[in-house]
Amino acid sequence: MKTYTQIPPGTQILFGRAARRRRLLERAICSVFEGWSYEEIIPPIFDYYDVFAKGMGAGEEEHFYRFIDREGNILALRPEFTSLVAKTAATRLARSPKPIRLFYSGEVLRFEKPKGGRQREFAQIGIEHYGGAGKTADVEILLIAVEVFQRLGIQGFQINLGSVDFFGGIVDRIELPAGEITALKEVLNIKDQPGLEALLQKLPLDDRRKNILRAVPHLTGGKSVIAEARGLVKNSRSVEALDHLEYIHSIFEKLDLAQHLTIDLGEIRGFDYYTGIYFRAYVRGLGFEVASGGRYDGLPGSFGEDLPAVGFSFSVDRLEQIATPSLDASEPKNSTVEVEQGFEKALQLRQAGKAVKLCL
């Protein structure tokens, strides 16, 4: 028998100030979601393995905590919420009036290397918006993400926004075997310039396409990036993606929020999952993203009901590493009455709404 002094690797115990701060953060963020008319959904802690395997895509299942129930079904502890919520929206909520706005908050479990303050059990909090295609829903979730940062008093945040359709439109036009497309994506994913050059030397692509691929990793910055990208591509899928991003950027400008928005067409991680816009949120000084999200229109469809879907999630454990000036997690004491005169007195004070501390 192992000693009881240690907890299993990847888990954590919060108490005192850390626990108060966790709940304060969660409450503050949920109140933002509620302010935008999102309703809480509390899904089960485990579901059928297939739900997550389908929802998260190939390669993720190795991170699931799997087990078998007494009937022989394969189950998994939830590694995320999005699949669970999408399944619910596509089944039990299929007949609800659209759009459906839901938020969730809780722990998820993934068997992976603890990293960046995120253990194997970690807290996610986020929203899902179903039934709203196109621009309005995209802008809505981005504005909600912005408000979360503002509510927490975080100043130096940055949302990197891109669209899978920009790079997707480029790849559509490249006729290469799947293996070589994968190799291209690998070097672009780490912005490996020499690796890209070595690949381009070997690939039968014309100079125009090669130059597009050389430019992609650097297409990050302000509004001017969109104009730069327009100079590179002509295919309709990429151009529509740029129109879409330009529209979102113009709304952010009008709302005086453009300083928080970075157009990022050079990021191609997670492309098998998203179907439109995607974004990652960073805070200066933290080495990992604190939130990510985007559009995944195919997801509810894989559970039986075609619905446009867009959403995001924040990593609570990473937010906890950032100063949040507007949250006060210090010990509540001023209003507590110390009671030495017996249980009766304590009950009276409780009925009067006072916080008591028994000192009998």
Binding site: N160, I190, K191, Q193, T262, G285, L286, G287, F288, E289
Partner: protein
């Protein structure tokens, strides 16, 4: 201020030279000092000295914004990083090496060399699995997994060349610069896994949130790389 993680050891001098050519200079002699943290004269950069294998970790966690390390170290770390630049020094190859005359014997059957080459087997036969001694267990595993050859990996931390000579392993996977050490120990390169050189590493979040500073550094280094 950008924090740059540099490798202690053989990479340190060429790294400092490169930074010097890029205009990043230090008031004291970084290479001979015992301190581990140095600020550049212009106050824009801070250099930290760490063990080579730790550079990707410092950068992945964002404790350092950028780092300089060999591609071998980066591959072995499996850290999630940006690797935009080849710094054109520290050239070497990660290779599979073994005793002379054993080339091509493992890819067809995966049988251990010693059990098939008469005269090289010791009294007791080795186990039925190719045994590879290495400082790079992950690179080795990936390489043989991709080829469907089952192997037993024996992790070592130095003097890898010794392993096949005294029967600890059939092969080694190691970095080779000139190949002299291999030759002097009667080993030869059997397969090349990858070519390596020094790379610039960048933390993904830092690349986004400190964009101007990072691009400034890349620009200066691009001019300085020879």
């Amino acid at each position: 201020m950008l924090v740059i993680a540099l490798c202690k050891g053989r990479f340190l001098d060429p790294s400092l030279e490169l930074l010097g050519r890029a205009g990043i200079c230090f008031a004291e002699d970084v290479a001979s000092s015992r301190r581990l943290i140095f600020d550049s004269k212009d106050g824009q950069y801070r250099v930290v000295l760490v063990k080579p294998a730790d550079v990707p970790t410092y950068v992945e966690y964002g404790a350092a914004d950028v780092g300089i390390a060999g591609r071998d170290v980066i591959m072995e770390s499996r850290a999630d990083l940006l690797e935009p630049m080849d710094l054109n020094f520290g050239h070497c190859r990660i290779v599979v090496a073994g005793k002379g005359g054993t080339a091509g014997t493992d890819s067809d059957s995966g049988e251990p060399v010693n059990s098939r080459v008469p005269g090289t087997a010791s009294e007791s036969l080795p186990p039925n699995l190719l045994r590879i001694a290495t400082k790079y267990p992950r690179i080795t595993m990936d390489y043989y997994t991709a080829r469907g050859i089952p192997v037993e990996i024996i992790p070592l931390s130095g003097s890898i060349e010794l392993a096949p000579l005294i029967g600890l392993a059939d092969r080694i996977v190691d970095v080779v610069e000139t190949g002299r050490t291999l030759k002097e120990n009667g080993l030869e390169v059997l397969e090349v896994i990858a070519s390596c050189s020094a790379r610039l590493l960048i933390n993904r979040a830092g690349y986004q949130t400190k964009r101007d500073e990072v691009l400034g550094l890349i620009g200066a280094l691009e001019k300085a790389v020879q």
